[in-house]
Subunit: 125 residues, 2 copies
Amino acid sequence: MPNTKVLPLLDPASDGSVAPCCPPLTERPFTAEEAEAAARMFKALGDPVRLRLFSAVASHEGGEACVCDIPDVGVSQPTVSHHLKKLREAGLLASERRGTWVYYRVEPSVPAAMGRLLTNASSVV
Amino acid sequence: MPNTKVLPLLDPASDGSVAPCCPPLTERPFTAEEAEAAARMFKALGDPVRLRLFSAVASHEGGEACVCDIPDVGVSQPTVSHHLKKLREAGLLASERRGTWVYYRVEPSVPAAMGRLLTNASSVV
DNA sequence: TGTCTATATTGACAGCCATCGATACAAGGC
DNA sequence: GCCTTGTATCGATGGCTGTCAATATAGACA
């Protein structure tokens, strides 16, 4: 199992690109479904350990890192694995085994979509 | 008590503006303190009900809404109040009582800072 | 003063979740 | 085959959190 399924947070378009799940936060009140989808992503980054793991992967050269490259964040190995799985399930990271090691890389379109959700939200009408 | 204290997520500069708490996620691995601060913000948006409330305020004209303006999101009045408090404590909303009603408005610099954290994270080096 | 409306707080409870140790699985070297 | 190393899963547990009903508080208006 190289990596888990891509979540319905982004709709894969016909050309293979992805479209954001939701309009900017300022456009109109979110529906329950939109909020459910977007909250999953924010929740994934709403834990300090996960944020450090994500940042470690994102800042590693090539936007990709072996688990062994990730600096110690003060929790046990099973906990690290648990959090990496959560980030995968949220669509923020993808993983791939290469021989002995497992590499994680950032799924760039997802943070980009989250960013658009927010940055357009700052230019209040 | 018009609104609770501004959290240390953004450092108020001498000129009154605010600077982001953390570098972009790709710049380097977050420290424990940076992750703690940034995770608080993401966590606040990591709940569907809070996201709907925030979106309702952000999309209301003027980026401000009375609680009575917020459409029903399917939870009780105390729960709405509880979530609005959480959003306040995360620095995402500010509140002000005007007569009978309490108005909430978006603290624009905070989502903007969160957005920068993420959008720069998508342009992987 | 009393009453009505709008919002906040309190207290309780159920479900979720971050964490760990123990263990399992995967791959490479012997 | 066996052993070692890297990663994932399992099961248990304590703490956090979203939710509600009940109640409190704030302000407007008689």
